[in-house]
């Protein structure tokens, strides 16, 4: 990750979608939180962004580290607490461009798994409490970082762009763990859709609510911004219409027939 240029996408899209609303104070530079509107509704937008001066050296490239994950949890739980007595729960938009979770000794030592659990818990709890939670993937959505920031959303939207990717592990590490060469791994990704790194293959898995074309994902035009806003509002309305607060809407694809079969058979045999 260190060889790659630091991505600005999370910051750019957060700023665009909130019309440069002021960032909430009290968060570290790597976690941006802004309260703005989604159409006529109140919404909180959250992004994790690179911070070259991050005190934790393994979390400088936009990775979700120990502090980032717990701060995500705080940003989400603030909204849950503030709206506790309100009938209309505020929307939460996770703007997702996360290189990975932070890989390091400090991170394991201080329980980064627990930190990511804190963030995933906050998003899941917001969804269960009735907050419409939308994940907007504008760049990389990798592995544990995505599990902590966005994967618990009611609806997922991704930009159709070559730099947008979702995966469980980087290619070099995935090859090492599965005892394959990178070339072999790439050969499999071409014909096994869940192994692929590109967003079109990911879309075929049925996990996205919408895949959106934009003209410039790095520097959105006015039309790009409008397209994303329209889609976020449509997702918001769709969530409001849906009586379920769970993740069932992701189970419909032909590539997930086994997921559906397992659930059907479990239900038949449960009692």
């Amino acid at each position: 990750m260190s060889t790659q240029e630091l991505s600005k996408r999370g910051a750019v899209w957060l700023d665009a979608l909130t019309y440069s609303a002021p960032l909430q104070p009290g968060y570290p530079p790597s976690v941006r939180v802004a309260d703005a509107r989604l159409g006529e509704h109140r919404a909180r937008f959250i992004a994790v962004v690179p911070d070259p001066d991050n005190p934790f050296p393994r979390a400088r490239g936009g990775e979700v580290g120990l502090v980032e994950a717990w701060e995500l949890a705080r940003a989400v739980r603030e909204v849950i607490a503030a709206d506790k007595e309100r009938d209309e729960k505020r929307a939460i938009v996770a703007v997702i461009d996360v290189a990975s979770q932070a890989y390091g000794r400090r991170e394991e030592a201080y329980g980064i798994h627990q930190a990511l659990a804190g963030a995933a818990d906050a998003y899941a709890s917001a969804r269960l409490a009735g907050h419409p939670v939308i994940g907007l993937i504008v760049g990389r959505a990798m592995s544990g970082a995505f599990l902590a920031h966005g994967y618990q959303a009611n609806r997922l939207i991704a930009l159709a762009d070559s730099q947008v990717m979702v995966h469980a592990m980087g290619k070099e590490s995935a090859a090492r763990v599965t005892l394959r060469s990178v070339a072999d791994l790439e050969a499999f990704t071409a014909r096994v859709p869940p192994m692929a790194y590109d967003i079109d293959n990911y879309a075929s898995l049925g996990l996205l609510w919408k895949l959106l074309s934009v003209s410039d994902a790095d520097a959105p035009t006015r039309a790009d911004q409008t397209a994303v806003e329209t889609s976020l509002q449509a997702a918001f309305d769709d969530i409001r219409r849906d009586p379920s607060r769970g993740l069932e809407s992701r189970l419909g694809s032909e590539h997930r027939t086994a997921s559906a079969t397992v659930r059907r058979k479990l239900r038949e045999q449960w009692h």
Binding site: P55, A73, Q101, G111, Y151, V177, T261
Partner: protein
């Protein structure tokens, strides 16, 4: 443990997933759902030339624990490192969803998850990751009604997205054999270099991620000997304790306060982690 106890006890770690589930459930109540004879296997491994297993490495066992309806979800670490493929993960997520539904219908079904897993099965990458998100969702939902208890006994331990699942459980039990961490040692070494993490330095790895240290630092609730009876007794005690006032993953302010005491400029030591996290996470 003296020699006689050692000879008389039944090791928990040496049991396979099915036997572990059987030992945790009340005697004679075990019944398996989606058992191996139903042959619901991974649709993705065959086309990569990998032999499948008839239960996809996942045991779903119904029965009772302490007289109450229960489901034990036993991951078989012997198949593909206990990794989560589409089917194995759906067996966990689907069971948690049904258990939560039971509770909404007045049936107090509770769940135990046996974490023996490296995380996502990379041959099914994105479907494993998606299903792990559904496991997370299932734990957070069910946990509102009944404690969800996680056990990591070893020898695989608990890694990747499933370590996050462990972090979401109401209670976590570990043994000396088991490790609990997000990133596997080989992957940290690959991503960050051998100076950051030497994947062959086993004492170093256990000193940070072994469950003895995890218990000392408050990231595991119960540290149990490798004894099947002791394990079942610990599970029953935790269920009787009921839901905790706050789960570990809800203690946001507490963890942020402790992290603010960490000096990120120096490399971590197990002693330093114990000194800081030993204070607890009350906010």
């Amino acid at each position: 443990m003296d020699t006689r106890q050692l000879l008389e006890r039944q090791s928990f770690i040496e049991l396979d997933a099915r036997s572990r589930a059987k030992r945790l459930l009340d005697k004679g109540t075990f019944s398996e759902l989606l058992d191996p004879f139903q042959r619901v296997t991974s649709p993705w491994l065959m086309r990569q030339g990998i032999v499948t297993q008839a239960d996809d490495g996942m045991v779903v066992a119904r029965g009772t624990i302490d007289g109450e309806p229960a489901v034990v979800l036993g991951i078989d670490g012997g198949f593909q490192g206990g990794s989560m493929g589409e089917v194995s993960a759906a067996k966990i997520a689907g069971s948690l969803e049904l258990a939560a539904e039971d509770n909404r219908n007045g049936i107090p079904t509770r769940a135990v998850i046996l974490f023996e897993t490296g995380g996502v099965r990379l041959q099914e990458a994105n479907l494993g990751l998606a299903a792990i998100a559904e496991i997370h969702a299932g734990i957070v939902d069910l946990r509102r009604y009944q404690p969800v208890i996680g056990i990591t006994a070893g020898p695989i331990g608990c890694y990747g997205g499933m370590s996050i699942a462990a972090g979401l459980c109401s209670y976590l039990i570990g043994t000396r054999e088991a490790r609990l961490g997000l990133n596997g040692p080989a992957v940290i070494e690959q991503e960050a270099g051998i100076a950051e993490f030497d994947s062959r330095d086993r004492p170093m790895i256990w000193s940070f991620t072994g469950c003895e240290q995890r218990h000392r630092t408050g990231l595991v609730d119960d540290y149990v000997a490798d004894d099947a009876d002791a394990m079942r007794a610990a599970v029953i005690d935790l269920f009787r304790a009921g839901r905790p006032e706050a789960c570990r993953s809800e203690r946001v302010a507490g963890f942020l306060a402790r992290l603010s005491e960490v000096d990120p400029g120096v490399q971590a030591t197990p002693e330093q982690v114990a000194a800081i996290y030993g204070k607890g996470f009350q906010s």
